[in-house]
Symmetry: C2
Subunit: 542 residues, 2 copies
């Protein structure tokens, strides 16, 4: 027997209409590519999202056709999020940091019909447009009079002209909530990129989960700055959770340097910011250099990579800002865990709390976790033993777009590729990526543990620990260090810094200094490049 | 095209298993009928919920068969919530404050197969068991040795013996998330009671919505005391939202007097309590009398009836506790709106904030609202004009159990029977129940407005404003007053109290004093009884 509840599908169009009706004057502030600040409301965003939907209809796109974006965080990108999905099409966010050939490959694989791009990315579009065989319409996110005339790009028009012809009234279609809504490719280190195809249902459930007090804790009293890009996993779902709760949105556009981010945080009275560690490093450096303080920021969510404990301490001790460590993946929409203390942990002394806060946190309801040994046997949650992390839930993929890579699931669980321990309170700690673990004489060394210690050295700006082949131990750790400006930290000083912090056999065998550590399109260190570069490095121990 | 997300149904069993895994030592404290405090954890609750599920299987019940409860808020009731629904059956919570004949009528209408009752209600069960023709098993919520031997009730056994025979391991079945999960009858003032039949899907979505920061704001740092009964609309969904978030649960059992509630709030470090105004009145009176303070309580959710502004002020000004005004209905699972300030309202002076806080609040995402005039035309959200309130959403009923009362929807909207205004910020203010409005000479007088003014008089404990027939004006307001102990407030003093607060024609024509105002099974004033009692009252103006 079924319950007698209204049969209303969970659709993304419901989010923007809810925001327009209940938070009509809720603010959305965007730093534009042009440098100025654009300011409008949820009601305006809804009107223009409806215009986007109408404009897509006019192009004659079929249900579930893909419309791509190549854009910064900003109000037009937000309108595309809602207009494309609400009209029944799929918003395909492309990471502009990928190489042009990869972008063309992805657009072709997704069979994008339309591609909307910020003017910053005109050079990319010029380089790829003729290779994108399915794209019939190119939309430049600008005013009509800002459209360059000599691009050679076929069927190019300005966004404002495109949507300006449409009514701001639109009847959002109702359809199966399991319909595809958004597509995002993972930047796999091996093989071709693979697409995660989110549904309306998964997006709404994830928006609920993400807004919960023990997740991102979003309310109509918040002002949120997502540094995490909208071109990558829906900016952690923040645009959707914000519309659900009426939170103010502050979009940084292309200006992600410490000074620009700081000024925006202050001017727009931001209470919560979210991003990857590398951006926060730039912010903290800028603040330290200019002796600045935060006026309104209370918390910052850090994810995308494990956050160095030193950074958590710096935010808390120097600026009174709580770092919420988070963990997720493109395949998980992306939220898996967020690190918020439990009731009894609030009474712990600061150092004991820090032991909790350095972990990736607790699962949001909707995400189930398990750790397993190499034979697939489930391991206990004792906070010590680590194993392959598997996840399950309604906002986690069942397979990749077009079935690429075959069936990824193991007994219904998605293997994350992370190695992790889980403590009895359910706090997850990522030990390493499976492929980054250093296998030394039958024992495993966590590259993350080594990097965290190195990053706490005052002369180290960034550090990567990688495996280098070793004749006796199979692999041994090599530490690749980018010094802070002005630092002369030596190999010996840095190695001495490990004393007493880890077992001797876990200390790197050598340190090399580099001017820059290569970062991937989502800001993560590209250790595979470093492994290639230092594969032949002669360790003093070998 | 469908998204490629895992096809995992939203089931209630997922909540208790999540709590057991992620909050295994999260506490559940219950004041038992015996008077003592029982204390255990979510892990224990999950184990015993599985035993309940196993025990129900053994009875041979079919999928969706109803299992009734007649019980206070407590741990065994919680286990029944999860065990019954998780096993695929429907938990039918019966309000023990109904008359025995009504209880028998409801049990027969629901075709309950099993009925579980607290020992407090043994007299009711003795009175009705032979009339409940579908109930095959009676379960007394007690130890085996506490079971009275001389009841005459057929197939009576103790809960502990019943579940004690079962394993605490159980494979929860997976099924359609739209399956029926819980049944609750409304205590309609006319006609037979009608059942709202909740689904697993609606329950999970409601649990997400209810836990949001702008709703009940539940986290693993909270200790929650639901005074609102589990026998009525799932205690506002709190047991489910608590399991979702790992919040500590504190159940008051039968002891709802001011002293007992106060002691439990303090002893269990409760941060949030939820209930109807009448319970809080008793609590505030007890505290004023003994000059007590709260140590940990930060907020209290008040719903079920409009909360008098005087009570909101008393909590805030005297005790520093924020009252969250909430509104909902049995037909809405029940949450519709909660009154939390928006960002810009936080800067308002206290009196202007109070103007917001006396309203019923903003819709939780998942609830759509509209107000319409008698012709069904939608009215503006200007905070002034009021009309019939309609609602829509995935946790609102489409029809009543067994189709009783026909199709209640109007163009897909559920008519609440409330008259309300909505302001531009989306804050709902219930003006009245449609049937309680006083229609005086073509103008409407809100009975709630009149009562709120009367309740602010220092000598008034409770007040009800009802319509009395009038030869010239059709209806005129009569104020029925229950004085505070020791008060000698007169008719003239109370009427003088209205001066300058409302238009002269809105002042009641007369005041009558009573020893008690009749309350319904859910603690609401039964104005229909007062209308019957005072139908022939001779107004001085007629």
């Amino acid at each position: 027997m079924l319950g007698l509840m209204q049969d209303q599908p969970l659709l993304i169009s419901g989010l923007i209409e809810f925001a327009a009706r209940h938070h009509h004057d809720g603010q959305i502030v965007s730093r534009r590519v042009e440098g100025d600040l654009h300011r409008y409301t949820y009601r305006d965003a809804a009107r223009r999202s409806r215009q986007v939907a109408g404009a897509i209809d006019k192009l004659g796109l079929a249900f579930s056709d893909r419309v791509a974006t190549l854009a910064w965080n900003g109000y037009r990108h937000l309108e595309l999020y809602f207009g494309i999905t609400g009209s029944g099409r799929v918003v395909h966010t492309i990471n502009p940091r990928l190489a042009p050939d990869q972008i063309a490959w992805i657009a072709n694989h997704a069979e994008d019909q339309v591609l909307c791009f910020d003017m910053t990315f005109l050079p990319i579009v010029k380089a790829v447009w003729s290779k994108c065989t399915t794209v019939k319409h190119w939309i430049a996110l600008c005013e009509a009079d800002a459209l360059p005339g000599d691009t050679g790009i076929a069927n190019l028009q300005s966004y404002e002209a495109w949507i300006g012809r449409e009514s701001d009234r639109y009847d959002w279609p109702q359809f199966d909530e399991k319909s595809a809504a958004a597509l995002c490719y993972t930047s796999g280190t091996t093989g071709n990129p693979k697409g995660a195809l989110y549904s309306h249902r998964s997006t709404i459930l994830h928006a609920y989960g993400g807004a919960l007090p023990d997740a991102l804790n979003l309310s109509a009293r918040d002002s949120i700055l997502p540094v995490v890009p909208m071109f990558h996993v829906n900016a952690w779902g923040i645009p959707y959770s914000a519309a659900m709760t009426g939170a103010k949105l502050v979009f940084p556009g292309a200006a992600l340097d410490g000074k620009s981010v700081y000024e925006l945080l202050e001017a727009e009275r931001v209470t919560m910011a979210a991003g990857v560690p590398t951006v926060w490093l730039a912010l903290l450096n800028h603040m330290a250099e200019h002796k600045l303080r935060f006026s309104t920021l209370t918390r910052t969510v850090i994810g995308g990579s494990a956050c160095p404990p030193a950074m958590i301490r710096a935010f808390k001790d120097q600026y009174g800002v709580t770092v919420l460590h988070a963990w997720g993946m493109t395949e998980m929409s992306p939220l898996g865990t967020v690190c918020n203390l439990k009731g009894q942990q609030q009474a712990l002394p600061p150092e004991a709390q820090m032991d909790v806060l350095v972990k990736q946190g607790r699962a949001v309801f909707g995400v189930e976790m398990r750790i397993v040994d190499p034979e697939g046997k489930e391991l206990p949650w004792d906070g010590k033993v680590s194993g392959d992390l598997h996840v399950k839930g309604p906002w986690i993929i069942s397979s990749y777009f077009k079935g690429e890579g075959g069936d990824p699931l193991i007994d219904g669980w998605f293997p994350t590729g992370d190695v992790a321990a889980i403590d009895p309170d359910g706090f997850l700690q990522i030990t390493d990526r499976s492929k980054d673990v250093i296998k030394s004489g039958g024992e495993w060394i966590s590259s993350i543990d080594v990097e965290n210690i190195a990053m706490a050295h005052p002369g180290v700006a960034m550090a990567a620990c990688i495996a280098v082949p070793h004749p006796k131990w199979d692999e041994r750790p090599l530490l690749v260090v980018m010094r802070k400006p002005g630092s002369n930290a030596t190999r010996e000083e840095i190695l001495a810094h490990f004393e007493g912090k880890v077992a001797k056999w876990q200390v790197p065998d050598d340190v090399v200094f580099v001017d820059a550590i290569p970062l991937g399109a989502t800001g993560k260190m590209q250790k595979n490049k470093l492994r290639d570069q230092f594969r032949a490095h002669k360790l003093p121990t070998s």
